[in-house]
Assembly symmetry: C2
Homo-oligomer: 454 residues x 2
């Protein structure tokens, strides 16, 4: 959402080469604000605007562009200028960009970056998508344990310009093993003569680089940390994940979870920007699978055509009965999936969950069954034809109650089963559960109907 | 999820009054870890454990307890001790607790707190739930603009012990108007003789205390801030919202959104801890509404009983047709609701969204229509009875395509309509859309069937 009001002003500054104003805009506003303002500019105009800012600043602003724009910007400029900018970008932001570029373009840029940065890029690129290593940055502040606080602050002052944060400082031995953690606040409050070793917290909470990024987000959120250290198998520090990266991970995961619940494969692009074909593929894929699964409702339904031939009114209640299962199933699946994501429920709790949901399903089924009974009892005689009103009402009440219980049980257990099998419990969500319960609900309904009516 | 292994050790320490070990546990571990470990302890045991920690530390550990435990702890201790602990707690945490306590208990505690803290509590309690003011803290670090950096650091050192963060510092005039912002990193890097006024950023991004907490979360996330200043109508600083509070807000909102999508009224309690009656009410409420709405499927279906009498096989395709509408509607609703939440789509975009979804709905409808055609064409003659196979296949294909388009349009527009009417777009989510499309889908299907078959 860019500020359309400022765009003409910005254009005029660019057209008249108003260096002073352009410098002010690009250097004094927050980089995110500059990125917003330049959303309406062409690639050439944006590069021109950037050229008025100091180099580090250009990299900061660039990192706030949406990825689509970043990619267009790369295509619209010489490789030399781009490789310089890459060097100035923070390690996590530049790896995010390189991953999204055409591999050929990325491979043509990497050799132009200085050797040290190149190595850093290769390391970060090697972590699989979704791991803690893939979202960490390698620009962290460190201290040895045997320095005095006064010297420590001097050391930090030297590190500060190139570090993502100097507020969380990690204490390492010579082999880069993580020994402890100290905050800048601790250092500021301590006497200048105190030693880092005396101040540091030795109980350091960290994640391994190959752990899930969600696990890292959970740990940081739990301890209210500014940054979380990332270590390798030997407990050597390899990076940090900062609070702002965790927020990004959380937004991304919330979007993915919502999309899984809504029956879409994850679409990471902005809704209005995403390519039609990509979105069609991701939507049609899931919809077609569900549709094919729903075809079994036809098979199940037509299997009972003798029942329909005898009591046509039975057919009219089918959508009501199966939607009850779908809704109660979605509800249970949502609660359990979310409780798993929040760490409130683990696999070991399956029996507690099942017990809880059996009672809940029975009570919910009773509630809906009563409403169903009342409605069925009010069916006009012309619709009922040869069927007995009260028997019909009883069949509906029992079917609704049974299917509601069934939906609740399937909805609550399926996410746990998925997790046990190593799948994402999010996929056992509304549409999947609803489809499954639709088909089985028809069988339950007609079995009850046949037992009582025919 | 507490560490069950440590519980027996902890119990033994408490039973034997092992002061040294208890001091070590309560003072040296991270407060969140101590809170975890004491999850299995009784209220008395927990108070005993806390008593071995320094006072500030007790308050920190207490804040990491789940709210249920906090409330039990309040009930299990004298008002004097509790009021002392309240004084030591950070303003936002203690207001969160007071809001959840029985109002009588809260009112009996507040008078025991010192006058200054009491005023602070009353102010924070006055902000409505969900506003920026309700999640902010009043313990922020400030500086006047005319001090030198050297003196500024000394001032901060004095403020540090009682401030939530000293990394984001706000520059105020004498009337507490927000003039600018400076980070501790800026101060550390500057010469001791530089003045705060020269260093500070004058473009300060802030929120008003009465704005939505989600808006505050979005701003902090957008700018990667550690903390966001909260001001009143006169641009006077009244509090700050820190990164960890924003993460809590985001988790809360994600849970609420998921629950709305899954057809549950928001349940904030832990899944396994929540009271059965509360959960039943919240689940049964939504389910009953949806069930009552679904009753219209019966009305719609039975309205077409003449069609069923002529071609019974028509009934067998009803679940398939309506579930197609439900699934495509849920999918569109999810995408649009999420895009609204992320700020990618606003009301003004409704025409772009509609145009996009018309094309998408047509293409998706065509995809599913083809599958439906194939399936209907394969129907056994015994099931079809008197109906023509190819006409039947054509009816199914057209109905599926039309209902898919209809579901997509309803699903994409309803969240925008809800937003326009001032409702939360999240409520126009899967179950609501699916139910609406179920009923209308039956009408679409039979209208097409009657036109071709009868």
């Amino acid at each position: 959402m860019y500020n359309a009001l400022l765009l003409p002003d910005l254009r005029e500054m660019l057209d008249t080469d108003d260096a002073e104003s352009l410098k002010a805009v690009s250097a004094e506003l927050h980089p995110a604000t500059v990125a917003d303002f330049s959303e309406g500019l062409s690639v050439e105009e944006t590069w021109k605007l950037l050229s008025y800012a100091p180099f580090e600043r250009q990299a900061e602003i660039f990192s706030f562009f949406p990825f689509d724009k970043q990619i267009e910007m790369v295509d619209g400029v010489g490789r030399d200028r781009m490789s310089k900018l890459l060097e100035a970008m923070s390690p996590d932001d530049r790896v995010d960009l390189l991953k999204r570029l055409d591999p050929e373009v990325a491979e043509s840029l990497i050799p132009l970056v200085t050797r040290a940065e190149r190595q850093d890029i290769r390391t970060l690129l090697s972590f699989p998508e979704g791991s803690a290593g893939s979202v960490m940055t390698t620009e962290y502040a460190t201290l040895p344990e045997d320095v005095a606080v006064g010297d420590a602050v001097t050391l930090l002052r030297q590190q500060a310009p190139s570090r993502e944060t100097i507020y969380s400082i990690y204490v390492l031995d010579e082999a880069r093993h993580l020994l402890g953690f100290v905050s800048l606040r601790d250092l500021i409050l301590a006497k200048a003569t105190a030693r880092v070793a005396d101040l540091m917290h030795r109980e350091v909470i960290s994640v391994r680089a190959d752990e899930d990024q969600e696990e890292a987000a959970r740990e940081l959120a739990k301890y209210d940390f500014l940054a979380l250290p990332v270590v390798n198998d030997q407990n050597q520090l390899v990076g940090i994940i900062t609070h702002d990266d965790v927020i990004d991970v959380m937004i991304e995961e919330a979007t993915e979870d919502a999309q899984k619940m809504g029956g879409v494969m994850p679409i990471t692009e902005d809704y209005l920007e995403a390519s039609f074909l990509t979105v069609w593929r991701k939507r049609a894929g899931w919809l077609s699978c569900l549709f094919v699964a729903e075809l079994f409702t036809f098979t199940a339904f037509s299997h009972f055509d003798d029942a329909i031939h005898q009591v046509i009114a039975l057919a009219f209640f089918v959508p009501l009965c199966i939607s009850t299962g779908g809704n109660s199933g979605s509800q249970a699946a949502t609660l359990i999936t979310r409780a798993i994501a929040l760490g409130q429920v683990s696999l070991a709790d399956w029996w507690r969950v099942l017990r809880h949901e059996i009672t809940m399903g029975l009570v919910l089924g009773l509630t809906l069954g009563l409403i169903g009974f009342a409605r069925a009892a009010l069916t006009p005689a012309s619709v009922l034809e040869n069927a007995n009103r009260w028997v019909m009402a009883l069949v509906i009440a029992q079917s609704v109650a049974a299917i509601c219980l069934w939906g609740t049980l399937v909805g609550s257990m399926l996410p746990l089963v998925f997790k046990r099998l190593g799948f994402d419990p999010g996929y056992a969500s509304s549409p999947f559960v609803a489809t499954f319960v639709d088909v089985t609900g028809i069988v339950i309904y007609f079995s009850i109907a046949k037992a009582f009516l025919l």
